[in-house]
Amino acid sequence: MTMVTAASTEAMLPQPYSVQQVLKETADTFTLTLRPSNGAGASRFQPGQFSMLWVFGVGEVPISISGDPAQHHQLVYTVRSVGEATQMLVNRAVDEAVGVRGPFGRGWPVKEALGRDVLIIAGGIGLAPLRPVIYEVLHNREKYGRLVVLYGTRSPRDRLYRKELAAWVRQRDTQVLVTVDYGGLSWRGHVGAVTTLFKHARLQPARSVAFTCGPEIMMRFVARDLETLGLARENIYLSMERNMKCAVGFCGHCQYGPHFVCKDGPIFAYDRVRPLLGKYEL
C-alpha cells in the first residue's frame, strides 16, 4: 500500500500559471510560455522532465518541458493539438490561467554526458523534450564535446524551431542535419528516414552519448543502428511515452513492464528497456 504524504499531496495540487506567449510552430503545434501567476520564480527542471498541465474544467495532459533550463522565471512547452485538452491549451489567450503540476520524472543524464560528444536524434515533436539538452550543451560549450543534432520530420513545413535550427548550425563544434519524409520540389535538404542521416553525421561512437525522442518505432530503429555504429547500449537514452495520469507513480496508468514511465522515466537507458521495446502488449 502506498503511503500518502504531504509531499505527494502537494504534487497533486496544480499551481496557477498564466500564459505569456503562444507561438505557432506548425499547423497543429504551438509553443506556450507560462509564468507563475504569483510573480515568483517558476519551478526548476532538468532537461527531459515533464509537467502535468491543467486546462481548468477540461482536463490535464502530460507535456514535456521544451524551454531553456537556465531561464528560471518561466516554463515553456511545445504542444501538438490532438485532442480536446491540448486544443484548449493551445487556444489559451495571453494572461489566461493554466494549472501546472511538476516537473516530474527522470530527465536526460546531461551530467553523465560531460566531456563527451552529445548526439541528439529527434523525430517530429520529439525535438521538444530534447531542446533543453541543446540549450544546456550550448550554455556550457566547453564542458562537452561535439554536438550533433539529427532531426527527422514529415515535411519541411512540419519542422519545429526553424530559426533555432538555423542558428544552431552556426555554433562551433555543432552539426545539425534535418531530413523529411516528403520533400517538396523546392526542398534542398535531405529526404529519407532519420536513420539515413547517420552516414552524414561526424560521429565518434566511443566517446558519444546519444539521446533520442520520437515515435517509439523510430527510436527502436535508431537505437539498433546506433548499436551497430558502435555505441554501447548504456550510452543510448530514449524518452518513453505512456498514458501518464498522476505523474507520481500512484495510479499505475503508465506502467511499462516493471517501470512506471512517470517516475522511473520518461528517460530510460536503452539497456533497461530494450527487452520491452519488442513486446506488442506493452
Binding site: 517530429g124 527527422g152 519524409d181 520533400g183 534542398r188 529526404v191 529519407g192 536513420t195 552524414h200 530503429f221
Partner: protein, 153 residues
Amino acid sequence: METLERIIAEHPFFAGLEPYYTDLLAGCASNVRFDAGTYIFKEGEEANEFYLIRAGKVALEIFAPQRKPIMLATVGEGEILGWSWLLPPYRRRFHGHAVVPVRAIALDGKCLRTKCEQNHDLGYEMLKRFAGIMEQRLEATLFQLLDVYAVGR
C-alpha cells in the same frame, strides 16, 4: 594529385576493397560534374552508369501524371547513386535530379558488368555491396511508408 584509383579506394562504398579491384574499377571510371537542376538520368532510360557521389545532393524522384514529381529520397556525399545497371533489364527506375551542384565518379556499368562476368570475385564483391545498399534503401522506404510522425501513430 588525386587519382581515380585513390578516389575510388577512399569512397565509403568501396571501403576495404583490395587495390587490385580498385584498379580494375578505375578502368571503367571517369570524373563528372552536374549543375544544380540537371536530370542526371530519367525513369525508363537505359542504365549504363552508377555514381559515387563526392559532393552535392541528388534527389530520387518518381514521375506521376498530372502531379509534380515526387521526391522519394536524397543521395549525398559518400553515397552511391544508381543500381539499375547491375540487374536486367538495365533500365532506370527513378529520375536522378541534382538539387545542388554535384561532383561524382561515374562508373560505366557495361564495362563493369563485363569485368564482373570475367572475374566472379569482383562480381561477388559488387553484389554484396549493392545488396547492402538495397537493403538500407528498402528499410528507409518502409520507414517512410509507416508515416510515423503522423498524428495518432
